[in-house]
């Protein structure tokens, strides 16, 4: 199935964006996010970007104060996901110009729309930044 969820969490452990591609109840989400955030935030720069948790593998990357955590199946290509995170960040960069935590916080809907253009049901839909951003630019123009 590929990607199970995408989380953006700041270094205080606050969730800034959460997108799940499988149904979990609120309690399950809370527990999962708590465990994963605890595990990943405790790691240092010299450690690898992959953490095994239950039957997920978490591929994560840190940008300044923000962690991007992607939960995938055990047999997913880890490095491809790691660079997919970077592609997401670059896409946000192109739209917001030097994206930061606040951009994502206060433009949650845009972050969601971008993600929607990139991932569907856990699979990658699009990797061209121009194509990803077209609908959002369209919307910006119309409003």
């Amino acid at each position: 199935m590929g990607i199970r969820f995408i989380l953006m969490v700041n270094k205080q452990g606050q969730t800034r964006l959460a997108q799940y591609y499988e149904w979990l109840t609120l309690e399950e989400r809370r527990a999962l996010e708590g465990e994963i955030v605890r595990k990943c935030l405790a790691r240092n720069e010299q450690q690898c970007s992959f953490v095994e948790h239950r039957n997920y593998k978490i591929v994560y990357r840190r940008y300044a104060s923000l962690f991007f955590l992607v939960g995938v199946d055990n047999d997913e290509n880890e490095l491809a996901i790691l660079e997919f995170i970077h592609l997401l960040v670059e896409t946000m960069d192109r739209h917001f110009g030097n994206v930061c935590e606040l951009d994502i916080m206060f433009h949650l809907e845009k972050a969601h729309f971008m993600l929607e253009e990139m991932v569907m049901n856990g699979s990658i839909v699009e990797t061209s930044k121009a194509n990803i951003l077209t609908p959002i630019q369209l919307m910006d123009k119309s409003s």
Binding site: L17, E52, N55, N74, F106, E116, M120, N121, S128, M139
Partner: protein, 1025 residues
């Protein structure tokens, strides 16, 4: 107005951000929820913009982890808003908040469908995305045809089609029938001709799901995927937007290789060549560069290529390149690459025979076991576990034991379970096994499940030589100041049974043994006390002549526990006290425990069961499953490494504590109990019993002499079942010698047929032995190795292996030992020389004795005709002169075969190729015909070219005409018959006789036979017939 509305959202978000603590946050959220709720109540007054704003607030609150149990209707209703911004919010938020079974979703199904079939592209995209994310079965039923139409439509733009592809994937997962449409596979193949990389990226994900489920149906997609991969790898016509740090979409490259890994092999020589060139470039052309992103992206592709090459497992040279690369990766400092190196090396173990090369890296891997990063340590542990075999078990297990003391708690359980399994599987000798398990209990008692010590007890009980050693060893541990309770349990059991074997050693008199055991009693829990009581009773029984003082001491203890609140303890105390007054009869009643029946290790079983199942089986796992029959004997139960790392505690501690109820049951009558024990032990030769503790502890209480057991069993059985006559009763008791009572595991004929097509695997298996085969063929020589593996903890004796070769094979089997030690594997090489072509089959006559069982089996050996073939491609220039020069019988034979198992042409081509007949495409212009060539080797014929032509009739797939030509009449005949047999019978059909063709040969072509029109373009061939 719009800006104002969303400003409300911003204010709310910054309020939340300014909250000092969780409590403030909760208050703010509650306030907002109240506000939104009231606004939604008088919905009529709400503008769509306001609705939008509130719905976003809901999503935000939900993301923070607060339950939002209202407003779903409002979110869904936005879907039907006429304007894009509201509609978009409706779709996005709905797919975040609702799950597929939500009732409101059903209400929206019509709106969604209208958006999908409507003319507005952006609406189409929104609807497809939502259905793709949360669509359920109802959506699958009502929307699939529309979605398919969009995906395949030539007028639709890529932005819609890429979403349609993943939407269809969702619907397919909900209802696989949505692709059961005529010609769907061909349309999928056409779809892959698409140039747009977005559409290809998402279609590839759809294809992975389809192919993982049924690769045969989609074989036409295979060359297309190779083309796409080639296009990307060579950077042909890849738009800048799809190039990532100079690498053409790494994600699509990875996905294409993923799809290809679901096909078992790639036969078409051209496709194969292209593919291997591409893979070769990936393997050798990936350099380490400074830019992290570029480096990661290129290595993502490289690791996928590695996995793919492993899957193909074809080119020796490429495989060794892979091993070399992985060897390099596991030694680098960069943690990601090292992690992936370890992970992929573990996968490699599962698919190919590279154990020896990987062993060279053992020291390096052990270094990673001590890495500060737990992710890397886990990978190293898995790899060590996977690469362990008899030769390195001692080193690896000792490393694990050493590491156990310093390992963090999260890993100890897994570590100790793995160490226990390895020790059991690969013990070079059983005393070492006992050492390891006792060390494990000593160092990590809290993490050792009961299964582990039960297993030690079974081994010790079943091996007389081991008993004094184990008894001495546990005593050493008991002498230590702090002893884990599990150690007390295992020591009590073993000393109770076997301490009398040590009686002559200093410090091991019954009294001394009793006192070191009894010292522990105050420290243990109620589950251990019964075991101690049993040990006391046994010690007392073994003390001959009786020691009055010891007896008084022990009776006093029994007396004390007669009024114990725990029923199990009380019962034992009462019974032992009464029994120990019976004097000499005690000897019989408390006799040594009988041997345990052989059973699969519950630990290994547990490790196997813990595999996580995912909806789509990964290619590597699928392959590993196919491969398990390949692994030989002791290693055959190796669980899939990638998936075993953690066994949850709940599973591990499956303790069966004797309950009060069962205790009462046991006491009802002596007879009933010994009946139960008797049947348990004798009727049940292999399946693991769940009631391990019952097995170990129960019989101790009332154990009659063997004869008495049998007798009482008869009584009990006849008493219980009334009419059951004595003969039936005695059938379950092993009588002196029983021949052939051993049931084989698996289908012998199927195993044989599988081995006809591959060179290693299991030839035969029953509860006691596994016979594996590994073969290498070079021209007319063959070297087979028989692996005889004893699966038991007791030896197999009177082992005999006789080869009955047919006239055309010279066979020489090296010495087969008369005895196979417990859990050992012996290898017996068998040399084969092929003298002339023949389809006759060699037979292995194998027999052994286990306890009172005698087994004898006759097994066909897979030294069959096709093993002496080697595929060789032949060009038209070579083929036709040969074909003409071999002009007729007996060198060229033709036959019409009827009753052929109907199969599509590609499948037939695969079948032929599996027998090493090389298909030469393009030689016969008629697409319904196949032309193949191969070289046959025997001492008489030397290397001889064989040419084959098969003409099929598309109107009637049950008949075909086969023409075979070679320079040797026997070869021509035999090979023709051989192919015929393969076409007529299912290769896996049980009992398919190898020697007798099931269909009477119809040597003369009949007039109405194959439908070859007069104007057959294949006249070049036909004129020679």
């Amino acid at each position: 107005m719009a800006m104002h509305g969303m400003r409300g959202l911003s204010i709310f978000i910054s309020d939340i951000r300014n909250c000092q603590n969780k409590e403030q946050e909760r208050l703010r959220v509650d306030k907002e929820l109240g506000n939104v709720r009231t606004r939604f109540k008088n919905e009529k007054g709400l503008t769509p913009y306001e609705k939008k704003k509130y719905v976003w607030k809901m999503l935000y609150i939900y993301m923070l982890g607060y339950d939002v149990d209202f407003g779903h209707m409002e979110a869904v209703s936005l879907i039907s808003a006429p304007k894009y911004p509201e509609k978009q919010v409706g779709y996005v938020v709905t797919s975040c908040l609702l799950n597929e079974n939500h009732d409101f979703l059903r209400l929206a199904i019509n709106t969604v469908r209208n958006d999908i079939i409507g003319r507005n592209e952006t609406f189409q995209c929104l609807a497809l995305t939502m259905v793709g994310n949360i669509g359920g079965t109802e959506f699958a039923e009502s929307l699939a045809p529309d979605v398919q139409k969009l995906l395949l439509s030539s007028s639709c733009r890529p932005l819609v089609r890429k979403k349609a592809a993943l939407c269809l994937l969702r619907l397919y997962r909900k209802n696989p029938d949505v692709v059961n449409v005529d010609g769907w596979a061909d349309r999928m193949a056409q779809l892959l001709d698409e140039r747009d990389l977005g559409v290809l990226t998402s279609s590839m994900s759809l294809l992975v799901a389809l192919v993982s489920n049924n690769h045969e149906a989609y074989w036409t997609c295979l060359p297309k995927c190779v083309k796409i991969l080639e296009r990307l790898a060579r950077n042909q016509d890849v738009p800048q937007e799809y190039t990532y740090y100079g690498i053409p979409s790494p994600w699509l490259q990875v996905k294409s290789m993923r799809v290809l890994q679901y096909f078992p092999t790639i036969e078409d020589p051209n496709t194969r060549r292209t593919l291997f060139e591409v893979l070769q470039r990936m393997l050798m052309g990936t350099d380490v560069v400074k830019n992290v992103n570029k480096n990661n992206a290129s290595h993502a592709v490289l690791f996928e290529a590695l996995a793919f090459v492993m899957h193909l497992d074809a080119e020796k040279e490429m495989m060794s390149q892979c091993v070399a690369l992985l060897g390099k990766f596991i030694a680098v400092r960069e943690p990601n690459i090292r992690y992936l190196g370890l992970e992929n090396m573990t996968r490699m173990l599962m698919v190919t025979d590279v154990q020896e090369i990987i062993k060279r890296h053992q020291a390096q891997i052990i270094t990673s076991l001590k890495d500060p990063d737990i992710s890397i340590r886990r990978r190293a542990l898995d790899l060590l576990y996977g690469m362990c075999d008899v030769t390195n078990a001692k080193d690896i297990v000792e490393e694990l034991l050493q590491y156990l003391s310093s390992a963090d708690f999260t890993m100890r359980e897994e570590l100790s379970l793995k160490a226990a399994i390895l020790a059991e599987k690969f013990a070079p000798d059983l005393s070492w096994y006992v050492d390891v398990i006792l060390q494990l209990i000593d160092k990590a008692g809290d993490f050792i499940s009961n299964d582990v010590w039960f297993r030690v007890v079974q081994f010790v009980t079943n091996n007389d030589d081991l008993q004094p050693y184990a008894a001495a060893k546990v005593k050493e541990y008991l002498d230590k100041p702090a002893v884990h309770e599990t150690m007390v349990k295992v020591s009590a059991y073993i000393l109770g049974e076997y301490s009398h074997l040590l009686a002559r050693r200093t410090g091991c008199s019954p009294k001394e043994i009793f006192s070191i055991l009894h010292e522990k009693l105050p420290t243990v829990s109620t589950t251990t006390i019964p075991i101690l009581l049993s040990a006391y009773a046994k010690i007392l029984m073994h003390t001959q002549p009786p020691d009055q003082e010891l007896q008084n001491q022990i009776w006093a203890i029994f007396n004390k526990y007669e009024s114990c609140i725990d029923a199990e303890i009380q019962q034992r105390a009462v019974e032992y006290f009464a029994l120990s007054r019976k004097g000499a009869a005690l000897m019989d009643i408390l006799a040594e425990m009988p041997k345990f029946p052989e059973r699969q290790s519950s630990l290994i079983k547990k490790a196997e069961d813990s595999e996580v199942d995912t909806a789509e089986q990964s290619a590597i796992k699928l392959r590993a499953q196919q491969q398990t029959s390949n692994a030989l004997v002791v290693t055959d139960q190796r669980p899939a490494n990638g998936a075993t790392p953690s066994v949850p505690v709940s599973q591990l501690s499956l303790v069966k504590v004797p309950s009060m109820i069962s205790a009462e049951d046991h006491t009802s009558t002596n007879q009933a109990l010994s009946e139960e024990n008797g049947t348990l032990r004798k009727v049940d030769p292999q399946p693991p019993s769940a009631d391990l503790l019952g097995d170990l502890l129960g019989p101790l209480a009332i154990e009659g002499p063997p004869g008495a057991t049998v007798r009482s069993e008869h009584n009990a059985v006849s008493r219980l079942e009334g009419g059951l006559d004595a003969v039936d009763g005695s059938a379950i008791v092993p009588v002196e010698e029983q021949t052939n009572t051993v049931q084989p595991i698996g289908n012998i004929a199927e195993r044989f047929h599988a081995l006809c097509l591959k060179d290693s695997g299991v030839l035969y298996e029953d509860p006691y032995i596994q016979i594996g085969i590994k073969a290498e063929w070079r021209a007319h020589h063959g070297c087979l190795v028989l692996f005889l593996g004893n699966k038991n903890t007791a030896p197999l004796i009177s082992v005999q292996a006789l080869i009955l070769p047919p006239a055309h094979l010279k066979m020489e089997l090296s010495l087969v030992p008369d005895t196979i030690p417990p859990r050992a594997q012996v290898q017996c090489p068998l040399e084969v020389v092929n003298l002339w072509p023949s389809r006759d089959v060699a037979v292995l006559d194998f027999s052994y004795k286990f306890g009172t069982y005698m087994a004898n089996v006759k097994l066909r050996l897979p030294a069959v005709l096709n093993k002496f073939l080697q595929p060789i491609p032949v060009s038209a220039e070579e083929f036709f002169p040969q074909w003409r020069s071999l002009s007729g019988p007996p060198l060229k034979l033709q036959e019409v075969v009827r009753g052929v198992r109907p199969m599509p042409l590609p499948e037939m081509a695969n079948l032929l190729y599996s027998f090493w007949l090389m298909i030469c495409p393009g030689l016969d212009p008629n697409p319904n015909n196949l032309v193949a060539s191969t070289t046959f080797y025997s001492e008489n014929t030397r290397a001889m070219l064989c040419l084959i032509r098969i003409e099929t009739d598309p109107a009637d797939r049950t008949q075909l005409r086969i023409t075979l030509a070679s320079g040797d009449p026997t070869l021509t005949f035999e090979l023709k018959e051989f192919i015929k047999e393969q076409m007529v019978s299912m290769p896996t059909a049980p009992q398919a006789p190898a020697a007798a063709p099931p269909v009477p040969p119809a040597a003369q072509p009949t007039p109405q036979a194959p439908q070859i029109p007069a104007n057959d373009p294949a006249s070049l061939l036909a004129d020679l017939l």
